[in-house]
Symmetry: C2
Subunit: 116 residues, 2 copies
Amino acid sequence: MKNSTKLDVDLFENLKLELRRGCLIVAVLAQLRQEHYGYTLRKALDDLGLAIDEGTLYPLLRRLETQGLLVSEWREENKRNKRFYKLSRQGELILQQLLQEWQTINASLERILQEA
Amino acid sequence: MKNSTKLDVDLFENLKLELRRGCLIVAVLAQLRQEHYGYTLRKALDDLGLAIDEGTLYPLLRRLETQGLLVSEWREENKRNKRFYKLSRQGELILQQLLQEWQTINASLERILQEA
DNA sequence: AATACATACTATGTGTAACACAGTATATAT
DNA sequence: ATATATACTGTGTTACACATAGTATGTATT
């Protein structure tokens, strides 16, 4: 029968996804300091423990390119066409700022955890 | 004239908000190991460097209660009625899991950053 | 040579939730 | 009497993830 919608999905899974969401953007930007294309980028993140669905990663890449953080090139490699992405100049700047924010958040969370 | 929509808002601000979003949930849950009401919870988070808009915090609290992670009580204190929230049993469990996930993400991000 | 599987990306619909903005209301200070 | 801080509620818009499905080519297997 299996009639599962987003509603039945395990509550913790959803919260975990929400927690990852913002972090994934940082992870993607950081990875793209070196050129990658979607498929291997996804594998790389997966290996690092940051699994991301195709239907999430590809739209994210396009969105980040639209926002000017990435630049891409459609190129042939090993007889196959692939879209290669890498960080733009602006992307580098934003990445640095986001990493700083990340530190701040980390510090805040650690302070909260020490409270109780 | 001022015709600002979400689109004109500074790009970095949006990304920062996205990064915070998931973390805020963890921060809120962690803070609510001790009872708080909305207003002081917000101030506390603000002091920790995790500023959150009223229009974001209150709906979040209601949502987390609906999901069973928080329990609340409408009570008078200093001649004013306030809604006091605290972590439920299930909330404690979820918080522990989310903190674990947080460690994992942190470790992954650090590995990425060491790469280049 | 046919089939299956891995690779690689695209397209569309739906649901959720943040955020902007505005509103309600009481206590305290000036 | 008025302003300000406190404390919460309500509504609409926008944006994005995720689910799902589709397209298409290369390589390995039988």
